[in-house]
Symmetry: none
Subunit: 229 residues, 2 copies
């Protein structure tokens, strides 16, 4: 990790929709407490040392949030992208969160870290801030439930991969002009589920998401996915 | 299910710490909209019909919250006891929750159901109400993370030992009248796997298998198993 003193304003409005309820002094304090940092691919951002890091605002790159067993087995819960905030790295701020997770840089990242203590004081002062933190936690809850479903039941990745390969073969093209809604209907799923899995495929470099379509980038790996048990 | 017109005031303060922020009319409306109901053991309270049931306040009995695969495999996420509110049965009220769960009566239950539409209107009027719902959701997130850890990481002998000890402690008895099917459902496993492990436990003198139940014989060694890394 490298603290970065570079200029360039943090886009607070993008990360904190509650920003307008903060007093002028609080906004100034926020700018003082928040520190920008860079992490290299695979570096650990949170969780290795048991500290309550604080809110991590993702400005550039992708981070991966996962849990780890005592034997070191990892389960990826979700990924965060530019514009997202990582809340579970500030879990000590919310009493209702009683677990901890690990956060690693999946790519080189630029982030802005707002220390947990300062977040806690804002959250105590403003119901809107606590509300926003809880809402973010609840969105992550949805992500985790989705991951859990994937892990435990669905093998939805396999179903979607089979569908894409079949369609590409039938149409003799790697670029499928179908909306996510149409794909969902075709495989008996929901648009949201298809959308999430396509984003995951895209993050893995298997496909590219187009306006009104999907382009297959890595046939070999997609085919491998259709064959996994 | 049976709607119950019996008297007896609902203990609103117990379930809704925000009750004092509601206006007099809102409290009156709450009393009108809320309906008391009874469910028998194993009856489905929510999830089977795809409806957004509403908040379920548990007055008596235990409910079990679980997810189900397309093939009908169940994974228990957590249980709720008297004084708890079931929020995920009103998930349509919170935009940030994009999944649904099933809720069954684990024992005979008396509950009070507050319809989703009315909860949504309260939540829109009062930040405190939305805040409370989100806080409850976040607590359930913690429960689910714990369940996930149990399911994904722990060794199965350990999982089964923990389950038996927990149940025995909760029920204050060493004889658990639960079928192997019920045990399997509770810990997210298959009946065959539970059956095999119970037979192994019995051969080691840890438990005795009864008709429709299990008796714990050697608490000390079973406890030791729960602590093994």
């Amino acid at each position: 990790m490298q603290w970065s003193e570079e200029d360039g304003k943090v886009e607070w409005e993008q990360f904190f929709p509650f920003i307008s309820v903060l007093k002028k002094e609080e906004r100034e304090q926020l700018a003082i407490h928040a520190k920008r940092a860079r992490f290299q691919k695979n570096e650990n951002l949170h969780g290795a040392d048991g500290e309550c890091t604080g809110l991590i605002l993702i400005e550039q790159g992708i981070v991966r949030v996962y849990m780890m067993s005592e034997e070191g087995k990892e389960i990826t819960l979700y990924r965060l992208y530019p514009g997202d905030i990582c809340l579970l790295s500030a879990s000590c701020v919310l009493e209702s969160i009683t677990f901890d997770v690990f956060v690693d840089a999946q790519t080189d990242c630029q982030v802005c870290i707002v220390p947990a203590g300062f977040v806690a004081s804002l959250s105590k002062q403003h119901l809107e801030v606590e509300n926003y933190l809880l809402k973010t936690a609840t969105e992550r809850f949805s992500d985790v439930m989705w991951a859990m479903q994937q892990i435990l039941f669905l093998r939805f990745d396999q179903r979607l991969a089979i569908f894409l390969m079949d369609e590409a073969a039938q149409r003799a093209t790697d670029t499928l002009y179908m909306t996510q809604e149409e794909i969902a209907r075709s495989i008996g799923s929901a648009r949201e589920v298809v959308s999430r899995m396509l984003k995951f495929f895209a993050s893995e470099g298997l496909v590219r998401i187009l306006r009104g379509g999907v382009e297959i980038l890595d046939k070999a790996r997609l085919r491998k996915l259709t064959q996994s048990a």
